[in-house]
């Protein structure tokens, strides 16, 4: 039987398969290297790095919800200096694309990180975490058109590396935000970060999380993210990396059919350290069973079916 071709191109970024970890659910790979060969992945993505070392939020930081979890980690970071000497060399040494996720508290901070990483070398793309819902001051860049445009312009000015804008689902119209990111220089979109939510302990009558609200992730959000990816990919020309509740090959194929060019596996890594290799194997099996030769041919295939009627 013919081995299916799982490689995809996201603009200039070529990946040997469309599967990578979601930022913040994989550290930078080291912990999971004991469970599977990280070189199998399409790309590696680190936990968003900040310019300065930070401690992150006060506990409790996580709480489980039906088919999901709320988290408010608050971007603890080793800071960019240690990242360049410890984490980045590890990521670079892997035989897959190195996507560096960065986060800042202002456009200047984002810009500075982008400049440093542009000079560092060996970075294949930069993912801008514009959408962390858990900064103490609760600014989500990707929910404010002005702020998002400002950050993107600043970053675009400083690098020619492919820029991925990670969108927030906490908006009225995600397509509008996707268009805005396209207009201000993003090369790709990542959809999406976590949904702001909360939980209350009925016994203590207090919010469970130390920061009151947190971000919802996991299988619970998958249908909503699928709808968002479906809408964005039909409205915007940029490649979209889907992220939200993807736990296995079937989930991944669903997102590819909805128009995503690649997928990120997030919360699923926590439950199953083999979620990423199993997702890759699941896509391959789907291609062997029922797909065309190249995975690129199933990207967006569901729109065409939907347009053609039943």
């Amino acid at each position: 039987m013919n081995e299916p071709d799982l490689s995809v191109s996201l603009g200039r970024l070529r990946l040997k398969n469309p599967v990578m970890p979601a930022s913040g659910t994989f550290n930078f790979g080291k912990e999971y290297a004991e469970y599977f060969d990280l070189n199998q992945m399409g790309a590696v993505v680190n936990k968003s790095v900040m310019l300065q070392p930070r401690q992150g939020n006060a506990p409790p930081r996580i709480v489980e919800t039906p088919c999901g979890m709320l988290s408010s980690i608050g971007l603890p970071s080793q800071g960019i200096e240690e990242f360049l000497t410890v984490q980045l060399p590890f990521m670079r040494a892997l035989e897959c694309a190195a996507i560096v996720s960065v986060s800042g508290t202002s456009a200047e901070e984002f810009g500075e990180l982008v400049s440093v990483l542009d000079r560092a070398g060996g970075v294949d793309a930069l993912e801008l975490n514009l959408s962390c819902p858990n900064f103490v001051d609760k600014v989500i860049f990707a929910t404010d058109c002005g702020l998002m445009a400002e950050v993107l312009q600043e970053c675009r000015r400083r690098t020619s590396l492919p820029l991925i804008a990670k969108l927030s689902p906490n908006v009225t119209d995600i397509v509008q935000m996707a268009r805005l990111a396209e207009k201000h220089g993003a090369d790709m979109l990542c959809a999406v970060n976590t949904f702001t939510g909360m939980a209350i302990d009925v016994r203590t009558r207090r919010p469970v999380l130390g920061t009151v609200t947190g971000g919802l992730s996991g299988p619970a959000i998958k249908p909503i993210v699928l709808r968002m990816v479906w809408q964005i990919t039909q409205a915007v020309g940029l490649p979209v990396i889907a992220c939200g509740g993807i736990s296995n090959g079937t989930d991944a194929v669903e997102f590819l059919l909805a128009g995503a060019a690649a997928v990120q596996v997030g919360t699923a890594n926590f439950i199953n350290p083999l979620a990423i290799p199993e997702t890759i194997a699941g896509i391959r099996q789907y291609m062997l069973d029922s797909g065309p030769h190249s995975v690129t041919e199933i990207i967006g295939a569901a729109w065409r079916r939907s347009a053609a009627g039943r």
Binding site: T25, K47, V86, F270
Partner: protein, 267 residues
């Protein structure tokens, strides 16, 4: 630089036995030789006894017993919510997904002379492997078992053969004050190297306080909510004193779950 357990594995084990150990308490015995082979007292496992996505997360449990010859481990748990209720309904022969061993083994003194073990409720569970290890190294253990009521005093008979003495304390019989007194006497009369505590913040604070005055090293098993157990979610933090001033956040799944009471803040 990188704190993590190099022997952790993800395997599908098999339930060998599941028996009630008191009201709401169960002991689960599972065959998981690859995990047991490298496991040490103070470490834990993340278990998943269901295939679907609800409950979503694995559940963390301390090792109660490590039986290397049989390739089996035991955990002692309390039915608290959905996850532990599901685990309590498993049957011998059922598969059990096991991630472990996780966390840092207890840094034992090479030749401990005497240690105190204080457990409340299911917090008695990890004391058994410690008592076993202390005896193997030629030391003596003294166990103080605490519970709300007499029927919740767990593992007392199991601990006896491995301990110099086992005392029990229940709330209905003024257990708090009595336990404090017993511990003070023990600290005074025996040259304790270390005291381990699990299952109660109140008892951990007591040990921390006595440790400051006395000459033993106090340790507490900390339980923070955990998603991954391996250091990637950054969810399981405890506050730990910093050398200079203030505190930092330490991941309980990597640096713990057992922390020196001279460092960790009991909140």
């Amino acid at each position: 630089m990188f704190l993590h357990c190099f022997w952790a594995m993800l395997i599908t084990g098999t339930i060998l036995d599941l028996r009630p150990a008191g009201p709401e308490y169960f002991v689960l015995r599972a065959h998981a030789p690859q995990v047991v082979q490298h496991a040490a007292p103070g470490q834990f496992v993340m278990l998943q006894g269901w295939g679907e996505q609800d409950p979503l997360l694995r559940r963390p449990f301390d090792f109660h017993r490590l039986d290397r010859e049989a390739g089996a481990f035991e955990v002692l748990f309390k039915v608290k919510g959905h996850g532990t209720a599901m685990i309590s309904r498993l049957r011998p022969g059922d598969p059990l997904s096991v991630l472990g061993p996780l966390g840092r083994p207890i840094p034992f003194h090479e030749a401990p002379k005497a240690v105190g073990l204080i457990g409340r409720g299911s917090g008695v569970s990890p004391m058994f492997t410690i008592a076993e290890e202390v005896r193997r190294r030629g030391g003596r253990s003294y166990a103080l078992v605490s519970a709300r009521s007499p029927d919740r005093l767990l593992c007392v008979d199991e601990l006896r053969p491995f301990c110099q003495a086992v005392w029990t304390f229940t709330d209905d019989a003024g257990g708090g004050a009595a336990l404090r007194q017993a511990l003070e006497t023990l600290v005074r009369d025996e040259a304790l190297d270390a005291v381990f505590t699990c299952g109660s913040n109140r008892l951990a604070s007591l040990v921390a306080q006595l440790g400051q005055e006395g000459h033993f090293a106090g340790y507490a098993f900390m339980d923070a909510p955990m998603a991954c157990g391996v250091g990637t979610c950054k969810g399981c933090v405890c506050r730990v004193r910093r050398d200079g001033a203030g505190y930092r956040y330490a991941l309980a799944c990597l640096e713990g779950p057992v922390f020196p009471l001279s460092e960790v803040l009991i909140e």
